[in-house]
């Protein structure tokens, strides 16, 4: 019997499962304000200019050569321009103190005018599996797993990102972990995430209302 046959349900099992599922199909009704709250949040998102930021993280051929359009507020635009100038002057930008135990780091290297290769590093000697979640991968805990580097407790993954502001976190052992060495932000549901500026500096965070860690 092959694997598919072993995992097939018998008619009796299927009938039981349907009896279990039937009561669960009752339509649950949210608070009547759900729709109104959602539309208000959508309108605020659209007005803040963060709706469909304009940076498309695409995969596939030609992505590395396609130009990207970033829609930002005038203040953020000035900050990004200043940050880019600093990035060009510095060559590479390294964020976080990699010498401290159990801390994480992000290293950004500019490969093209529009593309940066970002390396996320997570340190925890007790970690058994680590995933990177963020708005660049739909906050999927399965999309971007980190790989062990061979150094005890050190996990890493490299992600190509266009210029812009990104929120991210690490998920390890079912726990949500932010990067204590990066700026942070809290969303409408008071969930804290780390903030990454690709192509600008964390000092510009003050203008966007994001807390800067020292």
């Amino acid at each position: 019997m092959d694997e598919d046959e072993r995992n097939s349900l018998t008619p009796d099992e299927t009938a039981f499962a349907k009896r279990v599922a039937d009561p669960l199909r009752r339509a649950d009704v949210f608070d009547a304000s759900f729709d109104e709250r959602l539309i208000q949040a959508v309108r605020m998102t659209a007005q803040s200019g963060s709706g469909g930021v304009g940076v498309r993280i695409a995969s596939g051929p030609g992505w590395w050569r396609e130009p990207r359009t970033v829609r930002v507020s005038p203040l953020a635009g000035f900050g990004i321009a200043a940050g880019f100038a600093a990035l060009v002057a510095l060559g590479t930008l390294e964020v976080a103190n990699a010498r401290r135990a159990n801390t994480h780091s992000v290293v950004i290297r500019q490969v093209r005018d529009t593309v940066h290769v970002v390396r996320f590093v997570f340190r925890d000697s007790n970690a058994r599996a680590v995933a990177l979640v963020g708005d660049f991968n739909g906050w999927s805990a399965e999309a971007t797993p980190l790989e062990p580097t061979g150094v005890d407790g050190v996990w890493a993954v490299t992600v190509p990102l266009a210029r812009g502001r990104y929120e991210y976190a690490f998920v390890s052992g079912g726990a949500w972990r932010t990067d204590p060495t990066s700026p942070s932000s809290r969303d409408d549901f008071d969930t804290e995430s780390s903030v990454l500026f690709v192509g600008s500096t964390p000092c510009d965070a003050a203008q966007s209302g994001t807390r800067c860690s020292t």
Partner: protein
């Protein structure tokens, strides 16, 4: 009644009509609501998770490369958001629904036999590992085919079948005497 297709509504939203996004959500919300409540075991948690999922979907709408399959695309975001939401809250406190207020919201208000059975089923469901619970809900509550499940979860069909099988076996153990087997 909104008659425009999902693809038309998506195009309208991308052109700046945020109200069209509301029409999209209203069209598909009930299925997502049911899934999120059963997956997270709490109406209030499902409310929070879905608000987050729909906002993320709005922000990422340009990445929906096949708007005619918007439902599947949004389902994937909802599933990821529920998973991430559960990873952030304390799982030990919520795995078994002990909070009476949460239980009252998660199951039927009817205190009769039907409500009690639903409570037992929901409790049993929350004792499944998340991957098995998700597979069971998509297969038997949302009545998806394995191909649809593969599209929204990104998992292989063989793996999904195994999770459904394990979920059914575990539910049978937990619901002995509650749901008749034959």
């Amino acid at each position: 009644m909104e008659r425009r297709s999902d693809a038309t509504l998506v195009a309208s939203v991308l052109a700046g009509d945020t109200d069209s996004f509301g029409a999209l959500i209203r069209r598909h919300r009930d299925a997502y609501t049911r899934f999120a409540v059963r997956m997270l075991g709490s109406v209030s948690d499902a409310d929070d998770a879905l608000q987050g999922a729909f906002i993320r979907a709005f922000r990422a709408l340009r990445t929906c490369q096949q708007p005619e399959f918007f439902r599947t695309w949004l389902y994937r975001i909802v599933i990821n958001e529920c998973r991430t939401f559960a990873a952030k809250r304390n799982r030990r406190e919520r795995r078994l629904v002990r909070d009476e207020d949460a239980l009252a919201h998660a199951v039927a208000a009817d205190p009769g036999e039907a409500g009690a059975i639903e409570e037992d089923i929901q409790r049993a469901l929350l004792q499944l590992v998340p991957e098995q619970r998700q597979a069971f809900l998509l297969k038997f509550v949302e009545e998806m085919s394995y191909e649809e499940m593969a599209a929204v979860t990104g998992e292989g069909i063989s793996a999904l079948k195994m999770r459904v099988k394990r979920a059914c076996e575990r539910l049978r153990e937990l619901l002995e005497g509650v749901v008749h087997h034959g």
